[in-house]
Structures are given as C-alpha cells and as structure tokens.
Amino acid sequence: MAAAPLGTLRECREALDEGRTSSAALVEQSLARAEAHAELRLFVRLRAERARAEAQAADARRASGERRSPLDGIPLAVKDNLVRAGEETTCASRILAGFVSPYTSGVMERLEAAGAISIGTTNMDEFAMGSSTEHSVYGPSRNPWDPARTPGGSSGGSAAAVAAGIVPLAIGSDTGGSIRQPACFCGVVGVKPTYGRVSRWGLVAFASSLDQVGGFGRSAEDAAHLLDAISGHDPRDSTSIPEPAPRCADALDGDVAGLVVGLPREYYGDGIEPGVQGAVREACAQLERAGAKLREVSLPYAEYAVATYYLIATAEASSNLARYDGVRYGHRAQGAHTLSEMYRRTRSEGFGAEVKRRILLGTYVLSAGYYDAYYRKAQQVRTLIRRDFEQAFRGCDVIATPTMPETAFRLGERTEDPLRMYLSDIYTVSANLAGIPGVSLPCGFSQGMPVGLQLLGPPLEEARLLRVADAYQRTTAHHRARPPETQ
C-alpha cells in the first residue's frame, strides 16, 4: 500500500501549525511515497537520513516556538543541477558521476535558511538539455498521468514529483522552458523568474545568459511562497539583480478587475492541438469573467525565437561545458597516454548524444567564419524579440499563451528527431531570450492529459503573474486534479 499523497504547502503547514502532524512524519511520508513510485524514476538519489535529521531539527524549532519561514519543516525536491556541500550533484551526466561539491549554491543556502527539507535530487535531461527527461544517464522519467508518456523536461523529475504528491514543492531550472514545459505536461504550477531574480551561484551552467532557477507547486500560492524563499540578491552571481525582491505571496489578493491580458496573435495560429487551444481559450474567458480585459497583441518576431534560442543556447553551452576535461573532478578516461587524448576520451565517454550534439552545434556557430552569420545574428534577433515584448507590454499587463502546443508526448517518440523536439519549445524560449518572468498553470485537459496556460509579464513582475494565476485558481479546480493512480 503506497503512502498517501502529500497535500499542498498550505495544507502541510496548517497541519503542522495545528499539531496534526510533524515535520518528521511529513518527511517519512514523502520518502515512502518516493520509494513507492520508484518506477516513475523521478529521483536520482534520496537523502533520507539527512532529511530525517533536518526534520527532527525543524520539529524541535517548532516546539520552541520558532518558525523560520512558511517553508520551515516542509519536504521538497531539488533538481540534480544545484550543488550542496558534501553531497553529490551529477546533472544526470556520466561526466559528473561521483562529484561532491565543496560548496553550497545560493538557492540551497536560502532553502536551508528557510528551514525547507530536501528529500532528494530529481532526474533531468543531462545538463538540462532536453524537453523530455529522456536524455538522462539514469534513464527516462515517466509522467504520473500516463507512465507511457514523458513528464517533459528538462526539470521533469521535479515537476512529476509534485504532480505525484511526493512533495508539495520542487526546485527546477529553466533555460528555454525547462520549468514551464514539464509543469504544463504534469498539471502543476511552474515559475520561471526574471533573469537575475534568483541566484545562479552553484547552479551548474548550461547557457549562462538564459539559465534561471525557479520552482513548482500545486497552486500559485504555494509557488509564490517557494519563489519568495529563493529570490533576492546574491553578490556571488554578477548578474543577480542588486535589489530586494518583493514578497509574491503578499500580492495574492484575487483581484484581476481591469487587468489587461494580451493574446499574441502569432501564438494562436496553426499547429496547436485543438484540445489545448480550447482549454487555453476557456481559461482566458474565465479571466475575462473575473474582470480582466482581453486584448490582441503582436509579437512579430515570434517565429524566429526557436532558431535564435538554439544558436545562443548551444554556443553558450559549448563554452560552459569546456570545463569538463577529466582533470579536476568527474569522470576521467583510463589509459590515455597524453593530455589531449585524455580530454577527448573523457568527454566522448562522459557526455551523452544530446549534449554532444549541442556542443558540436555551439562550437560550429562560434567557430571562425561563422560567428557573425550565426551567433552575432542571433544576438541581434534577440534584441528584436526583447523589443517585441517591450512594445506588447505597453498595451497589456500580462500575456497569456498556451505553454505548449500539445500535451505530453510518448516516451521515445521524438528522440530520433531532435529538431522536432526543439520546435515544440516555440512558446517558452522567448521568455528566456527576453529575460522576462513566466508562469505555467494547469487549465484543463485534452484527452486526459493536462494542458498548461502560460502567463508572461514584464521584468520583475513575478508577483503580478502569480496574482493572476492565483485569482484564476480561486474560481477553478483544474489545479486540484490528481493523476489517476495517485489518488
């Protein structure tokens, strides 16, 4: 008999506050449920003993009347690309097998300070490169709504762990949609903050100008509390925004009267699954009934976003992943006679096919003779995409789109066709290129699989997005639906 699913953050916290449960009991339930759903392959390692010790400490704090934050004593899960001193981080890659970080990431420091308890690290696409969590050295994760389907990626383990009721909250990272897309496919809320809002110190780099840490919850309110715990300036990340982050959880007043919701005409064209189109349109109509105004806006350069993204992301990745050389940490090929042979063999053995593919494309577009035609051109188009959003936000407060043009696809369906896999990121990559915040929230189902509504906002307006998402959830029930086998 599997352990019962955990409730939302709010339900867990109320149970703690009323003495109906303890942090130790919540952590046990979380661990038991993770074990019971091992076949979904959502976790790459559990930190059971450490989590139990931290839960005891949290219960002791609570007994003495101390509460560090709304997350104090709450179990959560963390993607396998944020380091923590003394613990293994591998980015689901063979090349980082056995890597034990000498230091702790800014995000994990903040979560520790908030009293949150990580029960384990979650499966992901290797180095966060992928949309399905199939490019993992540990094997693919499965979607709790249908185990034959992907949970999305690259933060697929984190999104699915929340959907399966293993944890109320989870941390992910989003370089081109890697939080919002799995949130959409798993029917949970996912938040990608403004670039610079959350520290990248100790986040293993994929594409440094696009990477941003964020999180998952089952409600907008839960996600707001998680975001509040991890946001804020970190001087060790030179791109961190040097000002305090306003508390998102305080902004959730349920009021969207007069709010202008922009619908980009380029995002509602062909190629969207009818069930997705219908659910997203209905969600917008619901916002309208709640007092918001719908207005068509235009993002003329939207069609170039995927091409721009894959040029910039792979270029940055090829540079960032040059550090994996078998010298200082991670895998080293045995028996090489020279340094350059050791580099080549180490990297060839250590990286999976998708990572090699992206390193090659990135190296190509940065190489002599191609830089201006590809990389510089992409950076210029990136400017035009940013300007599109600046212009659009002069006429609306938030933008609403489908998160994905479809629902979760079947495992194995796209692994032989990388370009097709990339093309499905069409609605998510622009937010990373423009550095703006985005939220995906469940807005219904198409043929039994969750559909996601994406809300995009101007820079630093995470609170506005979560306020709209929360207002929507106050009058709808999609976010309360549970995967069939986990009820």
Binding site: P102, L339, R344
Partner: protein, 101 residues
Amino acid sequence: MSATLREDVERVAALARLALSEEELSRMARELEAMLGYVAALERVDTRDVPPTAHVVPLATPLRDDTPAPPMDPALALANAPESDGSSFVVPKVIEAEEEG
C-alpha cells in the same frame, strides 16, 4: 549531405575535444544540416543597426571591495580530482609525441 559538412563536423569535433565514431559523425552531420537549414530563417531578418543582446539585465559591472578572505582549502579543492598528488592535479604528459601532433 555534402562532404564539406562532414569535414566541418570533424573539424568542430576536434575543436570541442570530442572523438566521434564514423556512425556518430554521419548522424551528427545529418542533424547539423537539418539545424543549419532551420536556423537559416534568420537570414530573412533585417538586423541592420540592431545592437546584439548579450545579457538581458542592464547591469553596470558590479564592483566589490578587495577584501582578503581565506581561499578554499586545497584538500577540499582536490577532493574530486581523479588523480592528485599533494597540492597538484595529476594529468598525463602534456608534450605529445610526433604521431599525436
């Protein structure tokens, strides 16, 4: 697929310190061709006088005081090394024989 593209992949793989099998080379060349065909769409965009965006946050270079602080313990820094000796990382010989060059 053009022979040039396959040569390009070999050249780029050498730059990226990746050794590819014949089969990997063929597959990567095919996939690179598809990607380059797709991203060629950017050629249609008029980017005259458009400045490139490297980072989205308009930041001045952040400065900090030059305050001495203890460095990472060398033992900790070496703890992950596949091979180390005292305070050094050990690697295979750097000077290569003729046939390696």
